[in-house]
């Protein structure tokens, strides 16, 4: 037995075999639980999970060599939204002496195949999912290793067992639309986000509800589907503005989209806000910088990110969070891109 023996640790970390003996099951079964595979009764799974937890399986030993990490998985890492969230997470995590590993999803809603392997290897304190979700297997893998996770503005139907932090998208969209209605607009178009994203659906739904409350019929041709990108705002904005009865206001489901609508309007010689009012959603920095400055719905990204870090650190200390889902209030920010509706008849004949 040479000095190379790596088992210098006081207890040595548990092996599957030991755990199997303790739980009175086979090694295979422990392995399944550890990797979130199916084919284990709920009871057995619970017993083994408790054991894994108890024996700190594969858990980094706390001590001088412990550099705590938070994993952040982002959909569209280069988007302004993700950027502002990352910056906020970084600031708060740094205060707590926790470093931040950032990964992109390669622009899909689910992580790369080898992402989870890296995470399990790194043994982070927790995981924050920014506008993306995890397959169930991976959720189970994280849970069995006692790595908590939180969703930030989840795109899919939030699962009740995962704490998630969102924004009040429906009421934001309602407020945006109401603002336009109060300005006298009746012909209001919308560029939506992708159908499979909850936030897009919520925004569309809030838009509809506000119109219905005001007894304004919802015209199908005024509803245009798109992604949240600039190019979608441009394409769908152009489509809306080329309609026989063109809308006098457009609600874009994101600020970036709204800038696309700006470009469409510019190209077609439609003046904002005198001939067309535009409302965005998010209140990114670019909303303030646009010309004219964009009226939009403020999503409190920084506060949301801070919540996410707090909840995660609570969970890390095995403190249950106070909620499973919270939606932070959105607020209407009126700037220069919205104005009273132009008079239909005169405007139509001149154009």
């Amino acid at each position: 037995m040479s000095a190379e023996m790596p088992q210098g640790e006081p207890e040595g970390r548990a092996t599957l075999a030991e755990l199997a003996a303790l739980a009175d099951v086979s090694i295979s079964t422990v392995s399944k639980v550890l990797n979130g595979r199916a084919g284990v009764s709920e009871e057995t799974r619970a017993r083994i999970e408790a054991l894994l937890n108890d024996r700190q399986y594969n858990r980094r030993s706390p001590g001088p060599n412990h550099a705590p990490l938070i994993e952040v998985l982002c959909f569209e890492i280069a988007s302004s939204w993700a950027t502002e969230a990352i910056a906020a997470i970084d600031r708060l995590a740094r205060e707590r002496g926790v470093a931040m590993v950032v990964s992109g999803t390669n622009d899909r809603q689910k992580p790369d195949l080898d992402w989870i392997a890296g995470v399990l290897n790194r043994r982070p304190v927790g995981v924050i999912l920014v506008v993306c979700n995890l397959p169930d297997v991976q959720k189970r893998q994280l849970r069995s290793r006692n790595i908590p996770f939180v969703m930030l503005d989840p795109a899919g139907q939030p699962t009740p067992d995962v704490p998630s932090i969102g924004s009040a998208d429906w009421s934001g969209a309602y407020a945006a639309t109401q603002h336009l209605i109060e300005l006298g607009h009746r012909d209001i178009g919308i560029v939506t986000g992708p159908e499979d994203m909850m936030i897009a659906t919520a925004r569309l739904s809030g838009f509809r509800a506000a119109l219905e409350s005001a007894r304004i019929p919802v015209r199908p041709e005024y509803i245009r589907r798109g992604e949240f990108h600039h190019s979608d705002g441009l394409t769908e904005g152009r489509a809306l503005l080329s309609l026989p009865t063109r809308p006098t206001a457009i609600f874009a489901s994101s600020d970036v989209q709204a800038l696309g609508v700006y470009e469409a309007a510019r190209a077609l010689g439609v003046a904002i806000p005198s001939e067309l009012s535009v409302v965005g959603f998010d209140d990114l920095k670019i909303a303030r910088w646009a010309g004219p400055a964009l009226t939009t719905i403020r999503v409190p990204i920084v506060e949301m990110a801070e919540q996410a870090v707090h909840v995660l650190l609570d969970l890390t200390q095995n403190r249950a969070p106070a909620f499973s889902r919270v939606e932070m209030a959105t607020t209407l920010v009126v700037r220069d891109s919205t104005d009273v509706a132009p008079r239909r008849t005169t405007e139509m004949f001149r154009a």
Copy 2:
């Protein structure tokens, strides 16, 4: 066999068995070389080491299965520039199976006090400094631990012993200014970046040089200092446009600044580009989205970030990089914010 199978990779990473076959030795021998054990002839060892290197065999770092990490330290993590760089680094690093730890500097040019401690603890494969620098002590700490580092667009005087990747700022500024001169502008203002940042100095210097080449005197009141922010573009832009002889063109040292100049012009009722031409620097996405679309100097952020990762991974394998400093070419991108100089006296006539 479900779709979850993680072994879907076409090539997978090399196994000892494969390497053994290639080297025509036993698995045991490869294992010995891999772990620095004695009992292998120098010749065999060299052959196998070459192979390991060649096949990018995943060397296990000290500690139980260590996942490789790149550290990225960013000045102003939420800036568009940093964002685009981070996204590019992430993409490339992920391809190589390396994760990315991102830290902000709390908006100073040097890292937080406890940053280096975390880095040494995490034992990253290397460090990328995005628009920031390290105190000498920390450089020495990294060197002594064999952790290579690279500067991306360094703000300070580049030290010859640290590989750094920049952009051709001087020639970019020269090209921007020349473009304005060719359009007939003579009264050209500039909003610069902070004096202590090399890139700001280089851009100002290129501006001056172009004017001097064209024998246009440089008026001191046309040179306004600022940070690279929107607010500086606004403040200094307003100052320039309020001058008795107001400039007909403004060169902003960053795109974000240029949008600030847009806002100043809007506030003062100065039309772009008919009454005022504006050129930016960076070619961020927002440059394309601005109204009018911004003429700017393209800095190849993505290519620069990729270079940084490549150099770092080269250094990791103890291969010296091909250079200590490289500046990637910038290019003039003409869009809609620049036009021929207005005739001083009849500037109201243009439609």
